[in-house]
């Protein structure tokens, strides 16, 4: 069979995969346009603006940097989703709420520890506690730990009450149940913390690295912790017994079961690892953006789905790369379309990926 492939002409390949060619052409077109814009050249055809225009290098650089930061946050948030998607075999529509709950518990804890008057107001985030990495490091660290612990607790509780009785159900039934979980958790948060958008951080100190990039300490924390968590999970999946068991379950659950893998235990550990990471991701998401609202996880859910599917479900590296690419699309799309439509551009990319290459860039496992 390999022989045939080597003898394929370009014409045959185009005929076999026309959509990939189209995607390639569109991408090339956008890149060419971007280069022309950077040069400040405008290409006209019959007096119509076809390509080019102008954009400053520094403006582009800002977009790329913003995109990277958003991308790391999305990638980090995507790891947990990717794990549950591949190992437990369903698209968890409540994933956004795990982010939100982690962030709310984390920042309430941090606000209380940071001290000051009105403990109730602080706990409910009614007044901005002005958290900042360099001035309130202990409070922020405690918040981070609480974000992870509380989300693990929530994930285990929901698994026990909702998903465990439905272990044998099909992926789509679990998906529908997870929509119920999403509504339940999101609006429980709204019931407790109300529906406002609250500021939680003070103005963060700016750090300049190598005279090149200026980042806030919060963005830097997100980048460092995000990349560290991703590498940690990748190592765990690759080299530990638990990781092997997880990958075995993702490939074929029945086979894993007959091979003596304690499936129920691995499921619980998946929720622990995935939940902890997701809580941390939600916390860092809010640390970077500075504000928190009961629906921020839900609003970003499709963005995270996009990253996970683009990277390939089940692949940690995929979630990472997918996240960064999605972040870049979200920010760079401003070069071409109004900024209130960049999210729509991300969803277009999501749809395109699902149609052209549903296994994603890193060829994740196939799900139901």
């Amino acid at each position: 069979m390999g022989m045939n492939i080597t003898h394929d002409t370009i014409a045959v390949r185009v005929r076999e995969r026309p959509t990939e060619l189209i995607v390639g052409l569109i991408t090339t077109l956008f890149l060419a346009d971007l280069l022309l814009k950077l040069q400040g050249t405008t290409v006209l055809l019959f007096d119509t603006h076809i390509l080019g225009g102008s954009i400053g290098l520094s403006e582009l650089f800002t977009y790329v940097l913003d995109g990277l930061i958003v991308g790391i946050a999305v990638g980090l948030a995507g790891i947990g989703l990717s794990m549950t998607y591949s190992i437990l075999n369903f698209a968890n529509f409540a994933h956004g709420e795990y982010l939100t709950s982690g962030a709310f518990v984390g920042f309430s804890t941090a606000a209380v520890i940071a001290g000051g008057s009105g403990i109730v107001d602080r706990m409910l985030l009614q007044s901005n506690p002005g958290l900042e990495l360099l001035s309130t490091p202990i409070a922020l660290t405690a918040g981070l730990i609480m974000a992870a612990i509380s989300t693990i607790g929530l994930a285990l509780l929901l698994d026990r009450l909702v998903y465990k009785p439905m272990r044998d159900a099909e992926g789509i039934s679990l998906l529908i149940a997870s929509i119920g979980v999403a509504l339940l958790v999101r609006y429980s948060i709204a019931f407790i913390w109300q529906t406002g958008r609250y500021g939680v951080t003070g103005s963060a100190t700016k750090v300049t690295i190598l005279n090149l990039v200026t980042l806030t300490t919060h963005e830097l924390t997100l980048l460092v912790l995000g990349v560290m968590s991703m590498i940690g999970v990748a190592i765990m999946l690759e080299f530990t017994k638990l990781g092997t068991a997880m990958r075995a379950m993702a490939d074929n659950e029945s086979l894993a079961r007959v091979s003596g893998i304690p499936v129920e235990q691995v499921t619980r550990l998946t929720w622990i690892v995935g939940g902890g990471l997701t809580g941390i991701a939600g916390y860092l998401f809010v640390l970077e953006s500075g504000t928190i609202a009961f629906n921020f996880g839900w609003i970003n859910l499709l963005l995270i789905f996009s990253a996970v599917i683009l990277g390939g479900i089940g692949s940690v590296y995929g979630a990472m790369v997918g996240g960064v690419l999605i972040g870049l699309v979200d920010k760079l799309a401003q070069v071409w379309i109004p900024s209130d439509l960049t999210r729509a551009a991300v969803f277009v990319v999501l749809i395109a990926v699902l149609i052209v290459r549903p296994t994603g860039l890193f060829g994740g496992v196939k799900t139901a």
């Binding site: 369903f90 698209a91 109730v120 706990m123 409910l124 009614q126 909702v162 009785p165 439905m166 159900a169 992926g171 789509i172 039934s173 679990l174 998906l175 529908i176 149940a177 929509i179 119920g180 979980v181 999403a182 509504l183 339940l184 958790v185 999101r186 609006y187 429980s188 709204a190 019931f191 407790i192 913390w193 109300q194 529906t195 499709l302 789905f305 996009s306 599917i309 379309i337 109004p338 209130d340 439509l341 999210r343 729509a344 969803f347 277009v348 999501l350 749809i351 699902l354 149609i355 549903p358 799900t367 139901a368």
Partner: protein, 431 residues
Amino acid sequence: MSTSDFRSRLTGLPDALYVFGLMAGLYAVFTGLTVLLNFELSGIVNTLRAITYFSAVYAMVVLALNLHWGYTGLFNLGVAGFMAVGVYTMAIVSGPTNPGPAEIPGLGMNLWVGVVAGVVMAALVGVLASLPALRLEADYLAIVTLALSEIIRLVLNSTLLQEVTVGGATFGTGGATGLTVQNNPQTPVTAFFQSGPGSALTDVAMGIGIDRPTVVEGIGYAIVLVVIVGLLFVFIRRIATSPFGRVLKAIREDQVVASALGKDTRQFKIIIFGVGCGLMGLAGILWYGSDGYINPLSFRPNITFYVFVALIIGGAGSNTGSIIGGSIFASVLFYLPQFLEQNSTPVLDGIQSVLGGSTATPQTIIDAGGALAGLDLTAFLAYCFANISSLRFIGVGLILIYLMQRRPDGLFGHRIETAASIPLTRGDTNE
């Protein structure tokens, strides 16, 4: 009498009786509530009008979704988007060319042209979306359709198409500020009761104490909607019992078998996706169009989940179940909380007169918890009333989880129609 006995006895009844029985029960409950709250006659009638209206519009969308999910097994999470396409197209096509100041003009066509255009546009968007999307498996289809619905909402919300001029005609979506729908499906009904033959009816209603003409017009519109639901039911019944419908059910049961039997399953799926989306567009027009004002915020995915919950309550696959699920959801889960919120002051006063305590609303959950700990149930309930929209979603979530765990068939899903033209069971059909 055991449950199965009860059920088999119920199964013998004609379907229309279920619907009438349910509506009669709902009317009785809401009449009781409104009488307790000392409503005037027009208020009572208006409440019954509201549950009829919401039941009818929900029943319409649920019936359309049942074609996708119940009959064909297509998991379409884009309901809100298709409704938006329908109603926005209608509003743009039949909007007046020279509206008042600060209003966005439309294309100035006849209302019915607009309605047809809206339905056709929703169906077209559905077909276009289905061409690539239907190759995907269920959960991917869910994500794609949800993303599509968000793309539609974001585009409508964007300044990009707020007001555009193409070939001399100016029109637009109004962006985030929304669009006034001067020419909407309720307009002819209103005209009928204000100046048409119906004005005599209005006079009669005024005579017996329904002193607001808008209530009479609303009742007229609700009756029109109920008739449309009936027609839709018959239409879908015909699709379902036709050879075409049998193939749809076969696709739901096992797509591979259906295509092995020589059916072009892809083509069937595309057609039914288009038909369902067109009907969603129609429902969007009749529902949101009649408000006289549309706004992208109305088309967030929550509305899709509402419709899904209604379908699952009724039981996917059953048309009667769709109508019943839609009515129960619309009246009990959707309208009742809203009704209680609007009347929270008298309701809380009533509770206070029984339980004592304070009706002052606690500002935070901690205060509310404190009130509860101090056995001041009234104050705690006041907090709940202030947050009733959150509680409604919590309830919807809990019901969805419960149904998926314990009763995935809903109320009528056990009657799911098989893909055969002859009964597959012999003799005794009781369970």
